[in-house]
Amino acid sequence: MFMEINVLFFGVLAEVTQTTFRHYRNIESFSDLLHRIQDEFPEMIHYNYRIAVNSEIINEDPELKNMDEVAFMPPFAGG
C-alpha cells in the first residue's frame, strides 16, 4: 500500500536541504522513505539527527501510516 508522508527538516538540516517541508507520495515503507530522502539530499549523511514520527522520537524502524509526519531533528539546542 502506497502512502503519502509529510517530512519536516529542522535546524541545520533545514539549511542543508534548503527546505523545512517535503511531501512524498508513493512511499512503501519507512526504509523506502529514508532512501528517497537520502537520494534527494545526499549531504544529510554528514549530520547527526534523530527522527520523530508524529512528534514521538523513534529508535527503530516504525510502521508508517498514510499522512504520517516524519521529522528529522539535529541535536536539540534550547535554552
Binding site: F10, G11, A71, P75, F76, A77, G78, G79
Partner: protein, 146 residues
C-alpha cells in the same frame, strides 16, 4: 489545554513581570524559583555572537513541555506549578530566551525543581539555535548537557 510554551521574539521585561505579578494570588505558596536564560555574547575566535535565532518543532515542543512539567510535579511533591516559556525567532545578546518559574510550598524544592527543569528543557525540548555573529556569519550551536 496545554499552556503556550513558545513565543515569537525575546521574553521581555513586561512578560517576566506579568508572570511574577500573578504569583501574589498563590497565597498558599512560600517559594518561587525563577530561571532566566539570556543570550550570551560568546566570542569564538575573532567572531562575537550578536544574536541567536531560535527555531522549534512547535507541536512536539508543546507535548514535551507537558511531559517535563508532569515529571517535575511527580518528583517534587511540594512543587505546585511549573511555568515554561521559550523564545523563538531572533533574540539579541543580553535579551532573555528562556523563562522557568517553579512555585512550591517551601524554598528547597522550588530551587531543586527549577534547576532540574532547566536541564530537562535543554535535553528534551525540540529547539534549535543559530548563533549570528557581528560579521553576519552564523553557526548552528549544540547544547552541552550537565
Amino acid at each position: 489545554m496545554a499552556d503556550t510554551v513558545l513565543i515569537n521574539g525575546p521574553i521581555t521585561r513586561e512578560i517576566i513581570s506579568s508572570r511574577i505579578d500573578l504569583l501574589s494570588q498563590k497565597k498558599e505558596l512560600g517559594g518561587h524559583s525563577i530561571f532566566l536564560g539570556q543570550v550570551r555574547a560568546d566570542v569564538k575566535g575573532i567572531r562575537k555572537v550578536k544574536a541567536i535565532e531560535y527555531s522549534a518543532y512547535e507541536e512536539m515542543a508543546g507535548k514535551e513541555a507537558e511531559v517535563i512539567k508532569k515529571a517535575i510535579l511527580e518528583e517534587f511533591s511540594d512543587v505546585k506549578s511549573v511555568d515554561i516559556l521559550h523564545a523563538t525567532g531572533k533574540v539579541m545578546a543580553g535579551e532573555v530566551s528562556l523563562l522557568i518559574l517553579v512555585s512550591a510550598g517551601h524554598r528547597q524544592q522550588a530551587m531543586a525543581a527549577c534547576s532540574k527543569t532547566v536541564e530537562l528543557i535543554k535535553e528534551k525540548l525540540p529547539v534549535w539555535k543559530k548563533e549570528i555573529f557581528e560579521d553576519n556569519t552564523h553557526e548552528w550551536a549544540q547544547n552541552h548537557l550537565a
